[in-house]
Protein backbone atom coordinates (compact mmCIF):
# COMPACT_ATOMS: atom_id res chain seq x y z
CA UNK A 1 0.00 0.00 0.00
CA UNK A 2 2.67 2.42 1.06
CA UNK A 3 4.96 1.39 -1.71
CA UNK A 4 2.23 1.76 -4.29
CA UNK A 5 1.48 5.24 -3.11
CA UNK A 6 5.09 6.25 -3.33
CA UNK A 7 6.09 4.51 -6.55
CA UNK A 8 7.41 6.73 -9.33
CA UNK A 9 4.76 5.41 -11.71
CA UNK A 10 2.08 7.12 -9.76
CA UNK A 11 4.06 10.30 -9.68
CA UNK A 12 4.37 10.49 -13.43
CA UNK A 13 0.70 9.76 -13.94
CA UNK A 14 -0.23 12.44 -11.49
CA UNK A 15 2.00 14.88 -13.33
CA UNK A 16 0.15 14.18 -16.53
CA UNK A 17 -3.23 14.56 -14.90
CA UNK A 18 -2.22 17.70 -13.11
CA UNK A 19 -3.35 20.05 -15.83
CA UNK A 20 -2.58 23.20 -13.93
CA UNK A 21 0.49 23.91 -15.97
CA UNK A 22 0.20 23.17 -19.68
CA UNK A 23 3.07 21.06 -20.88
CA UNK A 24 3.89 23.47 -23.70
CA UNK A 25 3.62 26.57 -21.59
CA UNK A 26 7.22 27.55 -21.88
CA UNK A 27 9.65 24.84 -22.48
CA UNK A 28 12.65 26.58 -21.04
CA UNK A 29 11.00 27.87 -17.87
CA UNK A 30 9.08 24.69 -17.29
CA UNK A 31 12.16 22.57 -17.69
CA UNK A 32 14.26 24.83 -15.54
CA UNK A 33 11.85 24.87 -12.66
CA UNK A 34 11.56 21.13 -12.87
CA UNK A 35 15.30 20.90 -12.92
CA UNK A 36 15.59 23.14 -9.90
CA UNK A 37 13.05 21.10 -8.02
CA UNK A 38 14.83 17.92 -8.96
CA UNK A 39 18.23 19.28 -8.23
CA UNK A 40 17.58 20.90 -4.90
CA UNK A 41 14.52 19.36 -3.46
CA UNK A 42 15.31 15.73 -3.81
CA UNK A 43 18.73 15.55 -2.16
CA UNK A 44 17.65 18.06 0.44
CA UNK A 45 14.60 15.96 1.08
CA UNK A 46 16.77 12.92 1.57
CA UNK A 47 19.09 14.79 3.86
CA UNK A 48 16.37 16.27 6.02
CA UNK A 49 14.49 13.01 6.18
CA UNK A 50 17.68 11.38 7.28
CA UNK A 51 18.07 14.04 9.93
CA UNK A 52 14.59 13.33 11.18
CA UNK A 53 15.35 9.65 11.56
CA UNK A 54 18.07 10.22 14.05
CA UNK A 55 16.76 13.16 15.89
CA UNK A 56 13.41 12.23 17.35
CA UNK A 57 12.79 14.31 20.42
CA UNK A 58 9.86 13.01 22.44
CA UNK A 59 7.48 15.41 24.06
CA UNK A 60 7.26 15.21 27.82
CA UNK A 61 3.75 13.86 28.07
CA UNK A 62 2.90 11.19 30.56
CA UNK A 63 -0.57 9.82 30.35
CA UNK A 64 -0.28 6.85 32.68
CA UNK A 65 1.96 4.25 34.17
CA UNK A 66 3.96 3.35 31.05
CA UNK A 67 5.93 6.52 31.74
CA UNK A 68 7.86 4.37 34.18
CA UNK A 69 9.26 2.18 31.45
CA UNK A 70 9.80 5.21 29.29
CA UNK A 71 11.91 6.63 32.06
CA UNK A 72 13.76 3.34 32.29
CA UNK A 73 14.34 3.44 28.54
CA UNK A 74 16.09 6.78 28.84
CA UNK A 75 18.03 5.51 31.81
CA UNK A 76 21.53 4.12 31.55
CA UNK A 77 20.63 0.54 30.84
CA UNK A 78 18.71 1.13 27.63
CA UNK A 79 19.72 4.71 26.89
CA UNK A 80 17.59 5.77 23.94
CA UNK A 81 19.92 8.71 23.47
CA UNK A 82 22.03 6.31 21.46
CA UNK A 83 19.36 6.71 18.81
CA UNK A 84 19.15 10.45 19.19
CA UNK A 85 16.05 10.34 21.36
CA UNK A 86 16.53 12.77 24.23
CA UNK A 87 13.87 13.00 26.88
CA UNK A 88 14.93 16.39 28.15
CA UNK A 89 12.87 18.96 26.35
CA UNK A 90 10.38 20.78 28.42
CA UNK A 91 8.41 22.50 25.78
CA UNK A 92 6.36 20.69 23.19
CA UNK A 93 7.40 23.25 20.57
CA UNK A 94 10.78 21.62 20.23
CA UNK A 95 9.55 18.08 20.01
CA UNK A 96 8.58 15.89 17.15
CA UNK A 97 7.74 12.54 18.67
CA UNK A 98 4.80 11.87 20.90
CA UNK A 99 4.86 8.67 22.89
CA UNK A 100 1.46 8.02 24.39
CA UNK A 101 2.56 6.33 27.57
CA UNK A 102 -0.43 4.33 28.55
CA UNK A 103 -4.07 4.86 29.32
CA UNK A 104 -5.79 7.89 27.91
CA UNK A 105 -8.75 8.78 30.05
CA UNK A 106 -11.67 10.89 29.03
CA UNK A 107 -10.29 13.77 31.02
CA UNK A 108 -6.91 13.51 29.37
CA UNK A 109 -8.04 12.99 25.77
CA UNK A 110 -8.80 16.63 24.87
CA UNK A 111 -5.48 17.66 26.35
CA UNK A 112 -3.65 15.01 24.38
CA UNK A 113 -5.27 16.26 21.21
CA UNK A 114 -4.37 19.81 22.05
CA UNK A 115 -0.76 18.93 22.75
CA UNK A 116 -0.64 17.09 19.46
CA UNK A 117 -2.07 20.09 17.66
CA UNK A 118 0.41 22.45 19.20
CA UNK A 119 3.45 20.47 18.19
CA UNK A 120 5.22 21.68 15.05
CA UNK A 121 5.19 19.67 11.86
CA UNK A 122 6.36 17.01 11.23
CA UNK A 123 5.28 14.93 14.18
CA UNK A 124 5.07 11.24 14.86
CA UNK A 125 3.10 9.23 17.36
CA UNK A 126 3.97 5.98 19.09
CA UNK A 127 1.22 4.26 21.05
CA UNK A 128 2.93 2.60 23.96
CA UNK A 129 1.24 -0.08 25.98
CA UNK A 130 -1.94 -2.05 25.67
CA UNK A 131 -4.05 0.76 27.11
CA UNK A 132 -2.96 3.21 24.46
CA UNK A 133 -3.56 0.71 21.67
CA UNK A 134 -6.93 -0.75 22.59
CA UNK A 135 -7.74 0.19 26.15
CA UNK A 136 -6.13 -3.00 27.38
CA UNK A 137 -7.18 -3.97 30.87
CA UNK A 138 -9.59 -1.08 31.01
CA UNK A 139 -11.79 -2.16 28.13
CA UNK A 140 -14.86 -1.92 30.34
CA UNK A 141 -13.93 1.08 32.42
CA UNK A 142 -16.23 4.05 32.27
CA UNK A 143 -13.49 6.61 31.99
CA UNK A 144 -10.95 5.14 29.59
CA UNK A 145 -10.79 5.52 25.83
CA UNK A 146 -10.52 2.28 23.85
CA UNK A 147 -7.24 3.22 22.26
CA UNK A 148 -6.10 6.57 20.98
CA UNK A 149 -6.71 6.06 17.26
CA UNK A 150 -9.81 8.16 17.52
CA UNK A 151 -7.90 11.04 19.01
CA UNK A 152 -4.66 11.25 17.06
CA UNK A 153 -3.14 9.29 14.19
CA UNK A 154 -0.71 6.62 15.35
CA UNK A 155 2.41 5.57 13.49
CA UNK A 156 3.71 2.65 15.49
CA UNK A 157 2.09 0.39 18.09
CA UNK A 158 4.26 -0.95 20.88
CA UNK A 159 2.39 -3.65 22.80
CA UNK A 160 3.00 -4.76 26.34
CA UNK A 161 1.73 -3.74 29.71
CA UNK A 162 4.02 -1.93 30.09
CA UNK A 163 6.29 -2.73 27.16
CA UNK A 164 9.86 -3.54 27.94
CA UNK A 165 12.25 -0.72 27.03
CA UNK A 166 13.61 -3.04 24.39
CA UNK A 167 10.21 -3.21 22.79
CA UNK A 168 10.00 0.55 22.85
CA UNK A 169 13.38 0.79 21.17
CA UNK A 170 12.21 -1.70 18.59
CA UNK A 171 9.17 0.51 18.01
CA UNK A 172 11.44 3.50 17.54
CA UNK A 173 13.48 1.58 14.99
CA UNK A 174 10.26 0.72 13.18
CA UNK A 175 9.32 4.38 13.22
CA UNK A 176 12.67 5.25 11.70
CA UNK A 177 11.99 2.76 8.93
CA UNK A 178 8.66 4.41 8.35
CA UNK A 179 10.13 7.90 8.19
CA UNK A 180 12.68 6.67 5.69
CA UNK A 181 9.97 5.51 3.39
CA UNK A 182 7.66 8.46 3.69
CA UNK A 183 7.64 11.50 1.51
CA UNK A 184 9.48 14.57 2.58
CA UNK A 185 7.01 17.37 3.07
Amino acid sequence: MLRELLSPKRESSRGALDGERPANFNILVGKLSEVLVKAIDKPLGYAINWGRLWSLWPVHLETACCSLEFGAASGPRYDVERFGIIEAFGSLRQCDLMVIQGTVTRKMAPRVRMIYDQMPEPKYVIAMGACAITGGLYFDSYNVLPGIDGVIPVDVYVPGCPPRPETLIQGCILLQEKIKRTRFR
Binding site: Y157, P159, P163
Partner: protein
Protein backbone atom coordinates in the same frame (compact mmCIF):
# COMPACT_ATOMS: atom_id res chain seq x y z
CA UNK B 1 33.84 26.29 53.95
CA UNK B 2 31.64 23.31 54.50
CA UNK B 3 29.77 24.16 51.38
CA UNK B 4 32.96 24.42 49.36
CA UNK B 5 34.14 21.02 50.49
CA UNK B 6 30.71 19.59 49.76
CA UNK B 7 30.89 21.02 46.26
CA UNK B 8 34.35 19.62 45.75
CA UNK B 9 33.23 16.20 46.94
CA UNK B 10 30.32 16.29 44.51
CA UNK B 11 32.69 17.17 41.68
CA UNK B 12 35.08 14.43 42.70
CA UNK B 13 32.27 11.91 42.88
CA UNK B 14 31.09 12.87 39.42
CA UNK B 15 34.56 12.78 37.95
CA UNK B 16 35.21 9.42 39.57
CA UNK B 17 32.37 7.97 37.56
CA UNK B 18 34.09 8.91 34.34
CA UNK B 19 36.19 5.84 35.05
CA UNK B 20 33.34 3.49 35.93
CA UNK B 21 32.30 1.03 33.28
CA UNK B 22 29.21 1.86 31.26
CA UNK B 23 26.07 0.06 32.30
CA UNK B 24 24.34 0.25 28.93
CA UNK B 25 22.97 -2.82 27.25
CA UNK B 26 23.36 -2.09 23.53
CA UNK B 27 20.01 -3.49 22.72
CA UNK B 28 19.63 -4.28 19.04
CA UNK B 29 22.96 -6.06 19.06
CA UNK B 30 22.90 -7.41 22.60
CA UNK B 31 19.95 -9.07 24.22
CA UNK B 32 19.24 -10.05 27.78
CA UNK B 33 19.34 -13.57 29.06
CA UNK B 34 16.34 -14.76 31.02
CA UNK B 35 15.77 -17.57 33.43
CA UNK B 36 14.25 -20.69 31.93
CA UNK B 37 12.18 -20.90 28.79
CA UNK B 38 9.51 -18.48 29.78
CA UNK B 39 6.73 -18.73 32.31
CA UNK B 40 5.09 -22.15 32.51
CA UNK B 41 2.50 -23.65 34.77
CA UNK B 42 2.20 -27.06 36.26
CA UNK B 43 -1.52 -27.74 36.72
CA UNK B 44 -0.89 -30.86 38.82
CA UNK B 45 1.11 -29.02 41.46
CA UNK B 46 -0.85 -25.82 41.02
CA UNK B 47 2.38 -23.84 40.94
CA UNK B 48 4.06 -21.95 38.15
CA UNK B 49 7.60 -22.35 36.91
CA UNK B 50 9.62 -19.17 36.90
CA UNK B 51 10.44 -17.59 33.57
CA UNK B 52 9.95 -14.49 31.55
CA UNK B 53 6.40 -13.68 30.56
CA UNK B 54 6.64 -12.71 26.91
CA UNK B 55 4.71 -13.82 23.86
CA UNK B 56 2.75 -17.07 24.19
CA UNK B 57 3.52 -20.35 22.59
CA UNK B 58 0.72 -22.75 21.74
CA UNK B 59 1.25 -26.46 21.33
CA UNK B 60 -1.27 -27.52 18.73
CA UNK B 61 -0.97 -31.19 19.59
CA UNK B 62 -2.04 -30.55 23.17
CA UNK B 63 -4.68 -27.85 22.85
CA UNK B 64 -8.17 -29.27 23.23
CA UNK B 65 -10.11 -26.13 22.47
CA UNK B 66 -11.53 -26.07 26.00
CA UNK B 67 -11.68 -22.25 26.06
CA UNK B 68 -10.44 -22.05 29.63
CA UNK B 69 -7.75 -19.55 28.67
CA UNK B 70 -10.31 -17.43 26.91
CA UNK B 71 -12.59 -17.52 29.95
CA UNK B 72 -9.71 -16.60 32.23
CA UNK B 73 -8.88 -13.66 30.04
CA UNK B 74 -12.47 -12.49 29.79
CA UNK B 75 -12.36 -10.53 32.97
CA UNK B 76 -8.84 -9.32 32.50
CA UNK B 77 -8.21 -8.00 29.02
CA UNK B 78 -10.38 -9.97 26.56
CA UNK B 79 -7.30 -10.58 24.51
CA UNK B 80 -7.94 -14.25 23.75
CA UNK B 81 -10.60 -15.30 21.30
CA UNK B 82 -11.17 -18.79 19.99
CA UNK B 83 -10.91 -19.24 16.23
CA UNK B 84 -11.30 -22.16 13.88
CA UNK B 85 -8.15 -23.83 12.68
CA UNK B 86 -7.89 -25.69 9.40
CA UNK B 87 -6.13 -28.75 10.63
CA UNK B 88 -7.97 -31.40 12.64
CA UNK B 89 -6.49 -32.81 15.81
CA UNK B 90 -7.97 -35.78 17.52
CA UNK B 91 -7.88 -34.18 20.94
CA UNK B 92 -9.48 -31.04 19.60
CA UNK B 93 -12.92 -32.03 18.37
CA UNK B 94 -14.25 -28.54 17.94
CA UNK B 95 -11.22 -27.45 15.99
CA UNK B 96 -10.89 -24.13 17.81
CA UNK B 97 -7.77 -22.65 19.26
CA UNK B 98 -6.88 -19.39 20.97
CA UNK B 99 -5.92 -16.35 18.99
CA UNK B 100 -4.25 -13.63 20.99
CA UNK B 101 -4.46 -9.92 20.36
CA UNK B 102 -1.28 -8.41 21.72
CA UNK B 103 -2.81 -5.00 21.47
CA UNK B 104 -4.89 -6.06 24.46
CA UNK B 105 -2.78 -8.67 26.22
CA UNK B 106 -1.16 -7.53 29.44
CA UNK B 107 1.18 -10.52 29.83
CA UNK B 108 -0.14 -11.43 33.26
CA UNK B 109 0.08 -15.14 32.49
CA UNK B 110 -3.22 -16.08 34.10
CA UNK B 111 -4.25 -17.83 30.88
CA UNK B 112 -1.23 -20.08 31.33
CA UNK B 113 -2.38 -20.77 34.87
CA UNK B 114 -5.77 -21.71 33.53
CA UNK B 115 -4.62 -24.20 30.91
CA UNK B 116 -4.90 -27.73 32.32
CA UNK B 117 -3.29 -29.50 29.35
CA UNK B 118 0.23 -27.99 29.18
CA UNK B 119 -0.72 -26.42 25.86
CA UNK B 120 -0.23 -22.72 26.44
CA UNK B 121 3.04 -21.38 27.80
CA UNK B 122 4.92 -18.13 27.53
CA UNK B 123 8.25 -17.46 25.89
CA UNK B 124 11.06 -14.97 26.11
CA UNK B 125 9.95 -13.07 23.01
CA UNK B 126 9.12 -9.45 23.55
CA UNK B 127 9.80 -7.82 20.19
CA UNK B 128 6.23 -7.30 19.15
CA UNK B 129 5.98 -3.69 17.95
CA UNK B 130 4.11 -3.23 14.68
CA UNK B 131 2.77 -0.65 12.32
CA UNK B 132 -0.90 -1.60 12.51
CA UNK B 133 -3.21 -3.10 15.05
CA UNK B 134 -3.90 -6.04 12.74
CA UNK B 135 -0.30 -7.09 12.92
CA UNK B 136 -0.64 -7.42 16.65
CA UNK B 137 -3.23 -10.20 16.38
CA UNK B 138 -1.46 -13.53 16.46
CA UNK B 139 -3.30 -16.48 14.96
CA UNK B 140 -2.87 -19.99 16.36
CA UNK B 141 -0.41 -20.78 13.60
CA UNK B 142 1.74 -17.79 14.50
CA UNK B 143 1.52 -18.71 18.14
CA UNK B 144 2.84 -22.20 17.48
CA UNK B 145 6.15 -20.85 16.18
CA UNK B 146 8.97 -21.01 18.64
CA UNK B 147 10.61 -17.59 18.76
CA UNK B 148 14.10 -17.34 17.37
CA UNK B 149 15.01 -15.09 20.26
CA UNK B 150 18.30 -15.84 21.96
CA UNK B 151 19.71 -13.53 24.55
CA UNK B 152 23.09 -14.10 26.08
CA UNK B 153 23.91 -10.95 28.01
CA UNK B 154 23.42 -10.47 31.72
CA UNK B 155 24.59 -8.17 34.46
CA UNK B 156 28.13 -8.72 35.68
CA UNK B 157 29.43 -7.12 38.82
CA UNK B 158 33.08 -6.58 39.58
CA UNK B 159 35.40 -3.86 40.80
CA UNK B 160 34.77 -1.84 37.62
CA UNK B 161 31.11 -1.54 38.50
CA UNK B 162 28.11 -3.29 37.06
CA UNK B 163 27.95 -3.84 33.33
CA UNK B 164 26.51 -6.20 30.78
CA UNK B 165 28.50 -9.05 29.45
CA UNK B 166 28.03 -12.47 28.00
Amino acid sequence: MGSVSGMLRALASGSKHLAVKRFTLRYPEQKLKFVGDGYQFDPKEGVGIAGYRGRHILYHDKCTGCQLCSIACEGIAEAISMVKVDKQYKQNKKGIMPQIDYGKCVFCGLCVDACPFYALFMTDDYELAAYTKEHLIYTPDQLAVKPKYQGTYEIKIDELGAYHDE
